[in-house]
Symmetry: C2
Subunit: 495 residues, 2 copies
């Protein structure tokens, strides 16, 4: 046994004996080195070994912590939304979310913005600078309506990784995935039509549907395998559903990747009921496992899948460069694109095309996949430490969003208001439901570097959740008590 293995064993024993409690911070490398008369690097090797064994977890700039074992919070159960078409509201809450992400004094834990600090993104600045230097008049002029040809070619090439044999001519560039979704929905549906969505579903999509006067039917969704095909089939039989909107890869907010067989089954179902599938793949390239998962679009044989995506999550949202591969709806999508914004800004398209062509994109993606995966580990470890028992947490397979479910009468809306005084913002679950469900849920982001501020925020959030859970159970008990009382009363009445 080497020196560092011996030290690791010793530390493991102490953890087992409860000398270092779960969630507790371990001694610093420097102090252990002094205590045991070993070198700094020996301590570091010992810690690395324990980390590999998942006994402890490292947190950048904070040190090492004892991992909570056996207390991985359970996954949320499959969701149970209202089983009929409803109108969407919640716009005020969406505005709150959008405003908070720009307030420098607020830690936007609920925001869906990616990390844009990576050094692998730096070449983009150089490219933009060079484009300006070259003064190519194309940058100032109206682009063609489809988008810059170079960019469409690069996008078609990227889509090969998801199993698609798309060409540049199958693609329409859009102002972000927002516009891609917006034109796809309008190309496939009329006001008053019904669309089926996962439940919970991305609030942007919900607002788009609302804006066009589309009714929504929310389908139960499993946090590991995605939309319930059984429930969807039932809905298809009951309602004239025109299209299904899904985020099958690294779902927002649940984080799952739909297994390939279920993707095929969903497509078959859509074929049977002649519905379009609007597939939002905006996080697909951020799946932790490589190669990336396939899209439903890759299985499509009759052009009914409209694939929507953007570089907002993989590169930078401020570029507003997205795209749609609309299959048989191409002409209608093009028309909708024209009336929505005309052609797309040229310069950012050219910049992204050059970034990919020059080989910067794949290394950046690789870096971000690893970065988010590591962040998730730290984040989950600290969530386990700070959050109370009795909550459920998703296990994302990619992206940078996590979903937390609390016992039923809990009100995330009120929590968000209270937290704001501490400069913390979360995404309230009800944003993700047309019918205002999921008030007991919240979405958190681990996109950004885990700092002392994050640690403090999770601690404050944890305390609030513990209080909430306590009062919830008392609420539950009270209401159960009340029911029993009422039961007795009614029994008496029946006497």
């Amino acid at each position: 046994m080497t020196r560092y293995q011996r030290l690791a064993t010793l530390l493991a024993q102490r953890i087992e004996q409860g000398l270092y409690q779960a969630g507790e911070r371990l001694p610093s490398v420097r102090s252990l080195s002094a205590e045991h008369g070993v070198s700094i690097s020996t301590v570091q090797q010992a810690y690395s070994l324990l980390e590999e064994k998942q006994l402890i977890a490292a947190q950048p700039r904070s040190g090492y912590f004892v991992a909570r074992q056996g207390v991985t919070p359970p996954l949320p159960p499959i969701t149970r939304p209202v089983q009929r078409p409803v109108e969407i509201t919640q716009w005020d809450a969406v505005m709150d979310l959008l405003t908070a992400r720009l307030d420098a004094d607020v830690l936007p834990l609920g925001s869906g913005t990616p990390n844009i600090d990576a050094s692998t993104l730096k070449p983009l600045w150089k490219i933009i600078g060079r484009l300006a230097h070259q003064q190519d008049p194309r940058l100032l002029n109206y682009d063609n309506l489809y988008g810059v040809p170079e960019l469409r070619e690069q996008i078609a090439r990227l889509m090969i990784d998801s199993g698609c044999r798309t060409t540049a001519d199958d693609i329409v560039v859009t102002t972000g995935c927002h516009e891609a979704l917006s034109v796809s929905i309008r190309a496939t549906c009329q006001p008053g039509d019904i669309i089926a969505v996962e439940s919970p579903a991305f609030h942007g999509t919900m607002q788009i549907l609302r804006g066009f006067g589309i009714r929504v039917i929310e389908i139960p969704t499993d946090p590991q395998s995605g939309i319930s095909l059984e429930a969807l089939e039932l809905a298809f039989e009951q309602w004239p559903i025109k299209a299904v909107v899904v985020v099958p890869n690294c779902n927002n907010p649940l984080g799952f990747i739909m297994p390939a067989a279920r993707k095929q089954a969903l497509l078959t179902l859509a074929q049977r009921f002649d519905a379009a599938i609007i597939e939002d793949d905006v996080y697909g390239e951020l799946a932790f496992d490589y190669p990336r998962p396939i899209t439903i679009k890759s299985l499509d044989i009759d052009g009914r899948v409209l694939l929507c995506s953007s570089f907002s999550k993989t590169l930078a949202p401020g570029l507003r460069v997205g795209w749609v591969a609309p299959g048989r709806y191409f002409d209608r999508v093009l028309h909708m694109k024209y009336i929505s914004t005309g052609s797309t800004a040229t310069q950012t398209q050219m910049a992204v095309a050059a970034f990919i062509r020059q080989g910067h994109y794949q290394p950046h993606l690789r870096r971000m996949r690893h970065y988010y995966q590591r962040n998730l580990e730290t984040f989950t470890c600290r969530v386990r430490h700070h959050f109370p028992c009795g909550i459920c947490v998703t296990r994302p397979q990619g992206g940078f969003l996590i979903w937390v479910e609390l016992p039923e009468p809990f009100d995330a809306y009120r929590l968000n208001e209270n937290l704001r005084r501490s400069g913390i913002q979360i995404a309230v679950g009800s944003l993700f439901s047309a019918a205002g469900k999921y008030r007991n849920c919240l979405r958190l982001s681990y996109a950004h570097a885990f700092t002392d501020k994050t640690e403090r925020a999770l601690a404050i959030l944890g305390t609030a959740l513990k209080k909430a859970v306590l009062s919830c159970s008392s609420l539950v008990e009270r209401s159960q008590h009340q029911e029993r009382e009422e039961g007795r009363a009614s029994l008496k009445e029946n006497d």
Copy 2:
């Protein structure tokens, strides 16, 4: 009398005597200098004097031509569209227009793209380069939904020139004027509603209305004073019109500026019938006269005017930076903006804001106003020379678009197809009517430098128009003849 004045008088006499015919090219400066034994600069001074007197016109790179006097083509009469709500079609023809403007082999005389070659635009490149160099992370991140505050402040300041007391908080930045129009229409109307428009009207607006299932009632419009208030009042009395879309300043395609009193009268009418006014001011800053004309928005007292504009015509369309000042519809516009594209691309907004702040915008505007006005002179002179009698031509008060009307059965659609073989493209008049009227009209642009290519194109176009006018009159004669014959036949039947 100086030497050059003597020469000028001599030349004027020759023109009067018909030695140099209207439209003919005058001798080159060099040859006149040799002929009369005077210096080059003397000849140039003589020509300048004749130009001032509008006896001759200079054409860059082609020399001087005898002006056609007394043959200024008449203005088109007030338009007479169908007086009921109709559905919009014409999408194929719009696509043709959009495609042609990007074909390097085609001279896009019908396109609405501005000139982007001016040296006063150059600082924009430097600014973009500098922004990239500074690596401000705001450029990569989601902007706030309203738009970059610096830009909104600059826009509010610009709007003072049009008489508006708008603040940054009244403005929502959009992806071009297209999106501004699109969200304004959706914020004020539902599918199935009726909107009144000028006739002819910008084809983009027509397509937006079509895309949202809005019905359109086209109002007769005068090529000098704009939409007929009498006809609009009648329409208001007959139909539940929700909004009026107008381009009152440097109208596309007619080029008029609506007199201020008529703007006020239009607003009063909208108040009386409680309709919104969607005012498209995208060419307003390109009015030839300074100071620029007021907007209807500047007269608005109850927030019913939604002012839409962009930097597409004044700076560069590829930037896709526009805005809307939506008055009382602010919240609905913001929601529609969110579901259309989310936030607007950050970088181009920052670039435009810096361009204005650093004082580059006003000199550029001044330059472009003069440039377009001079181009219009040359263009009109050559149109007079090449085009046949019997046509009407507008007299734009700003912008860079001219409208030509031919006798009724003339088919600009077929003409466009034929011209394409010669590498020339025009905008067919029927694009500007929901009911497909104005097939006998065409729109031409004088935005770009008048070159030999333009001269050749106008010559080819003129020849085609002459032929068309001839066959039109024969067509008219023939159909009149036919009517007479039929009249006689029916008389016989009645015998």
